[in-house]
């Protein structure tokens, strides 16, 4: 291509478009810009509304645990830690499960079953988070309490599982498990798509060299799909960070920085907003907007990185056959 450029003088074609086409191009370009604009507006408006609270809170907004905007003591550190813990619990469960499920669908499942299984997993993604929350609260929580008790009794070497409480309900752990179920379909969908694009030539090469099916998966599909695994997990992380309803139904809000995920109560930014919203005055709402701004920024960064990684691995730029 470079040689071509050198040898041939560049030809510029002047396209004369019909008026209808010019209008058409303008309209679609406007629509696309509107999408950009909405995104910009979200950040701008949140920032503008959060400004009074941020100004009065100052840097202590990032370090304070309590959330009592009326007395001037409010900060994001406890809820932020809670949000991250829930997301971590969710990902620890969801990522291995998604990798397994995605590999099963692309490499192991009988060809006839692939479409139906994929449909069912997509359906899992379409179930409203409210339903997950209800199900987690009424069905899963009583069953997970036993698991929690076992974890404290036998795995309290790990600091996360230490707890002094005895009822094990409404914990970060349970919220994390429910969120993990919501994250799995998203992670699986991304990973499946990337795994299914693993180069057939290299897969057959591995088999021809005598690899078993697992050997082929380990040496070709997994290295090729690394971008998909990382990107899919990060997309899941973005979803887990922002999950609102399921968390706010399950968790009982407390405002203490604690890494003990089995202690009764926890918190997350989104459930803080959902639960405190209706009882806040103007300043309280401004403080909630500030919390929302932090959440927005966090998910924005995570998702942007994720989509860059996924797109790169999708385009096949990572491999040369």
């Amino acid at each position: 291509m470079i040689v071509d450029d050198l040898e041939q003088p560049r030809v510029t074609i002047r396209v004369h478009r019909a008026p209808a086409d010019r209008v058409y191009r303008m309209v679609v370009r406007l629509a696309a810009s509107a999408t950009l604009l909405v995104m910009g507006l979200i950040g701008a408006f949140l920032f503008a509304r959060a400004l009074p609270a941020l100004r009065s809170g100052g840097w202590r907004f990032l370090t304070e645990q309590a959330w009592t905007p009326d007395s001037g003591r409010f900060g994001i550190s406890a809820v932020l830690l809670g949000t991250v813990l829930i997301a971590v619990v969710a990902l620890v469960i969801a990522v291995p499960l998604s990798i397994g499920a995605a590999l099963f669908i692309t490499e192991y499942a009988p060809r006839r079953l692939r479409r139906p299984i994929t449909s069912l997993i997509d359906l899992l993604a379409a179930v409203p988070s409210l339903i997950y929350g209800l199900w987690g609260l009424f069905f899963l929580q009583p069953r997970l309490i036993k698991v929690s008790r076992w974890l404290t009794d036998h795995a309290s070497v790990v600091p996360f599982f230490r707890t002094k409480s005895t009822n094990y309900a409404s914990t970060t752990f349970i919220a994390g498990v429910v969120v993990s179920l919501m994250v799995v379909p998203i992670c699986t969908a991304v990973m499946r798509e990337v795994f299914s694009q693993a180069p057939v030539g290299e897969k057959e090469g591995a088999l021809a060299l005598g690899a078993s099916r697992w050997g082929m998966v380990r040496t070709v599909v997994l290295p090729f799909g690394r971008g998909g695994i990382v990107g899919g997990s990060m997309l899941g992380l973005g979803r887990a960070l922002g999950e609102t309803i399921a968390v706010s139904l399950i968790i009982s809000p407390i405002f203490v920085r604690s890494i003990h995920i089995l202690d009764g109560g926890g918190n997350s930014i989104s459930s803080l907003i959902a639960l405190r919203f209706s009882e806040s005055n103007t300043f309280g709402i401004s403080a909630l907007m500030a919390a929302g701004l932090v959440l927005f920024g966090m998910t924005l960064v995570v998702n942007a990185i994720a989509s860059v990684i996924v797109n790169r691995s999708r385009s096949g730029a990572a491999t040369e056959i």
Partner: protein, 377 residues
């Protein structure tokens, strides 16, 4: 969200190549060790778990069984065919478990919601509101008609806003392109995972603080959430339209606008319908943005532009927090109706979207037949 069309594309692209290698199907040699290991692990765990050690509990039992099963299976295959084959079989078993594990929660969620919601589901749920129903009335009194109407209006308005915008953006990304395309694609990708509560906060800051809570504000919040879903899915669908069709149309002298309107969009119609339906399925269950925007109501308010309105997810979210059993029961009924709506939409999307571009559905086939007959006559 990956759609049927994406699958279709991938399947098409890979099928031709993929068909070359076929693995041995599961045969007796593979199946026997699995069954044997399962049985022996069951016996061993039962003996140790229930008889020899002071352990109890169903979950612990089955987890130990699974662990022992994997170990026994690995050892058996290792004795028979060596360590490489053993690792291969072990991976097969573990990955298959992971795949099937995912179907368990789906069954449990749908089953449990149906079980809890069915008890108080009466036809009156679809016609009455909660005007004369208090916390102490029977669970079968009143209904969620006001919430259903609210949901339909809000989602309908959201569709009216986000579908033209989303499809136009997709057309821009795919047919026009240019320097703007890259940032727009990145932003759409990023936006698709924006926390729903943040969308609610945004609309609250822009609309609600000046105009108050109403159904239209809820619709705007939902359309912020639908927009990226619709755009991304439509873009994938438009990419599936064969370039030859476009070139043929342009070569015949059609303008770009005519090409898009008369060739590209009609070809992609089933896929676009899928995109819209998937967007609707996502929007219909969203609760968080509605918490901040619609206000909630117990009586019918069919006007989305004035006054507070209710929505099905909001109805459920509010009633489930009541201490009275009747209210909780009502909430479960609402949840069942909501889940049924989502499932129906999803199935419709799958049926429409399962076909590729250019596939003639029953309507198109009938029209073609009619045109044929006209020609002959």
């Amino acid at each position: 969200m990956t759609t049927a069309s994406t699958e279709l594309r991938i399947e098409r692209e890979t099928q031709a190549l993929e068909d070359r290698v076929r693995f041995r199907r599961l045969d007796v040699d593979d199946a026997m060790p699995v069954c044997g290991a399962g049985l022996s692990a069951f016996c061993l765990v039962w003996l140790v778990y229930e008889r020899l050690t002071p352990l109890s509990g169903g979950l612990g039992f089955w987890l130990s069984w699974y662990g022992v099963f994997l170990a026994v299976h690995w050892l058996v295959v290792r004795e028979r065919s060596g360590p490489l084959a053993a690792a291969d079989r072990l991976a097969t078993v573990v990955l298959t478990t992971a795949g099937l594990c995912l179907l368990v929660p789906l069954t449990l969620i749908v089953g449990y919601t149906a079980y809890r919601g069915w008890a108080a589901l009466r036809p009156t749920f679809f016609v009455k509101d909660l005007r004369y129903t208090g916390s102490l009335s029977k669970a079968t009194d009143g209904g969620g008609a006001h919430a259903i109407v609210g949901t339909l209006e809000q989602v309908g308005l959201a569709v009216l806003i986000s579908v033209p915008l989303g499809v136009a953006t997709a057309v821009f990304l795919n047919e026009v392109g240019g320097r703007l395309a890259r940032p727009v694609r990145l932003i759409v990708d990023t936006m698709s995972a924006i926390p729903s509560i943040v969308a609610g906060l945004f609309i609250f800051a822009v609309i609600v603080l000046t105009f108050g809570q109403n159904g239209f504000a809820g619709a705007l919040a939902l359309s912020v959430l639908m927009l990226p879903t619709v755009t991304r899915t439509s873009e994938v669908v438009l990419r599936l339209v064969p370039g030859g069709l476009r070139e043929a149309s342009l070569a015949l002298g059609a303008s770009e606008w005519r090409t898009t309107r008369d060739v590209v969009l009609p070809t992609a119609r089933p896929g676009l319908a899928t995109a819209v339906i998937l967007g609707v399925a996502r929007a219909i269950g969203e609760t968080a943005p509605l918490l901040l925007t619609i206000g909630g109501a117990f009586v019918m308010n069919a006007d989305p532009f004035h006054g507070k309105q209710d929505a099905l997810p909001y109805f459920v979210y509010r009633l489930i927090r009541f201490p009275q059993n009747a209210q909780v029961q009502r909430a479960w009924t609402g949840a069942l109706v909501l889940l049924a709506l989502v499932l129906v939409l999803f199935v419709i999307a799958r049926i429409i979207g399962g076909r590729g571009p250019g596939h003639a559905g029953p309507f198109k086939r009938r029209r073609r037949r009619r045109l044929d007959m006209k020609e002959h006559a």
